[in-house]
Symmetry: C2
Subunit: 325 residues, 2 copies
Amino acid sequence: MPSTTNQDPASGKRQIVIIAGGVGAARFIDGMQQIHPPDSISVICNVGDDLTWNGLKVCPDIDTVIYTLAGIEGELGWGIQDDFTSMLDELTVLGDEAWFRIGNRDLATHLIRNRILQNGGTLSEATGELCRRRNVSVNVRPVTDDNHPTMIRTTEGILTFQEYFVARQSEPVITNIEFPNKDSALPAPGILDLISTAESIYIAPSNPFVSIEPILQIPGIRDALIESKAPKIAISPIIGGKAIKGPAAKMLYEMGHDVSALGVAKIYAPFIDLFVYDTIDQELTPSMDSLAIQTAHCDTIMKDRLGRKQVAVNVTALLNEVQKY
Amino acid sequence: MPSTTNQDPASGKRQIVIIAGGVGAARFIDGMQQIHPPDSISVICNVGDDLTWNGLKVCPDIDTVIYTLAGIEGELGWGIQDDFTSMLDELTVLGDEAWFRIGNRDLATHLIRNRILQNGGTLSEATGELCRRRNVSVNVRPVTDDNHPTMIRTTEGILTFQEYFVARQSEPVITNIEFPNKDSALPAPGILDLISTAESIYIAPSNPFVSIEPILQIPGIRDALIESKAPKIAISPIIGGKAIKGPAAKMLYEMGHDVSALGVAKIYAPFIDLFVYDTIDQELTPSMDSLAIQTAHCDTIMKDRLGRKQVAVNVTALLNEVQKY
C-alpha cells in the first residue's frame, strides 16, 4: 500500500505550524485554513486541560480546534452547536455533580476517542481519526501522547485546570502553575520534526500560561522552537488590556506581568521573531521597541468566519514583511 | 457504623427471589413490588445479554428491570421513556454503525456503572448503587460479577446475543446456544444464600433459553435451586403459542421443543413445584397433567401497571394454594 508510506501530512511538505490552545487558537486556525491549503497547516495542541470524565478522556483544546475547523463549534466557542445536555441532566438526576458540561453530541467524540485509546491507540492516532471523521484536513496533533496535566496552585489549594477554570470559574488567586509530568512526558511522534522543518511557526492568540506554556514544557519542544529556521510569529491574546476569552489577563496580573500585549510580548520574546498585537493597543508601540524582536499591529479581532479570515490575511502579510529583512 | 453490618437486604429476612431476564420479568417484578414490600423482593438477573459498547459495560436486562421498577422504562419496554438519541445520531454522523440503540439519558446509567467498575467496584456494587440512585428498593442483583456471555450459534455463524437479537433481529436459525464462561463464572456474593434461604422462588416470564438458562449455567445455581426448600414457581413466557416479546417461540421451535406453554413447562419441570400458564392456553391442561409438577392457569398478560399488579396477585394466590398441599 504505497499510500501508507507518506501518511504524515507533514512529511515531504513543509508545514505552517501553529502552536495552539482552545477557542482563540481555533478561530485563528479557521482563518488560516481559509487562505492556505488546509493540509499545509499543522496544529500542535495543548493537552494540559485534558481530563478524565466518567472514565473517558476528554481533550477540550483539541476538540475545540476540530469542532471549529469543522464549522460546528458551539456559540460560546466550545462544544457542538445546538447540542443539548439530556445525558448530563440525567447524571444530575442520579446525584452526580456534573459541573463539567458535556453535550449529547459532544459525547460521541469522547466515546470514539476512548474506544481508540482502549484498543491501544495513541492520542495522536485518536486525534487523526477524529479529524478524518469530521472531514478536517488540517493536521491537528496533541503535543504529547502522555498525560501532562496543568495544575493550578492557588491560595485555596492545588486544582486541576478544569477544576480551576470551570468548577471555580477562574476565581481562586494563582500562586503558581505546575506541570508535574513535564520531565517524563515525551513529544508525540513527529512533533519535533514538524517544528524543525516548519515553513513558518505561529503562536496562536491563546493563554500564554495555560495554553502555550504547557506545550513549551515538554522536553525538547522549546529547544526545537528556538533552533528552527522558520520565522516565528506570536499573536497577542490580550487586546486593550483584556483577554477576549478566559483568564489570561487575570493570570498576567497574578503572575506578576504587565497586564497588556507588552506583558505577553516579553514572555514570548526569547524565542520568536515577530509579535503581532491589536491596533487598539498601538499606544504600546514605543515600549515594544525596547524588545529585541520585531513587533507590528493589525486588527486581530475575529467576530465571525470572515473576521477570522481577515486576521489570518493581516498576520500572514506582517510575517511576509518581516521575512524581507 | 452499625448500619453497615446488615447491608445485604437479604440478610436476616427471607426474600421473595425472582429469577429474571428483561422486559417480561421487569413487568412481573413491578407487579410484585406493588403487592409485597419492595425490600422483601430480590431479583437474580441474567447478564448473558451484556455487551461492551464503546468501552462501556451495558447490562440490558438489569437496566430494563431497574428502569421498570423506577417507572421510567421506554415505550417498548427497554431504555428510558421520552429519551432521544442525539449522541447516537452523532456517532452515526461520524461513521459508526451504532446498531445498538442507546439514548442520551440511558447513557448516564452506563457512565455511572463504568465509573464504578473502573474504580474497582463489582457489577453487584454498581447495580446496587444504580438502584439506590433510582430509588428502587427491590434488591436487584446480577447472577455473577464475571463476564458470562450468551453466544448464539446459527447457520450463519456464531453471534453474541445482541448481534443476534438487535443487529440481526433474531433472524438467523439457531443451532446451539453456548456459554463459553459457564465453568469459570462464579455466582455473585450472596446469590447462593439468597436462593437457599428464599421464602419463595419465581422464574419470571422470560425467555427460557437466553434469559433463564444463562443463570442456571453458573456453577452452583441450579443445584441451589433444586435444594432450596422454598416453593418454586415458573410463569410461562409463551401465551397462545407466541412470546409477548422476543424470540422465545422461534427458539423453542429451532431447539426442538413444543412451541407452547407445555414446551416451557417441560424445560422447568425438573426443578420447580408449580408452572403457571395463561388461561388462554387452558386447552393444554390435560397434557400438563403428564408432568410431575403442579400446573395452574390464570391471566398473565400485563398491559399496564394495574395489569402487572393483577398478574402478581393471581400468581401469588396460585402459589399460596400449592403451599397448602
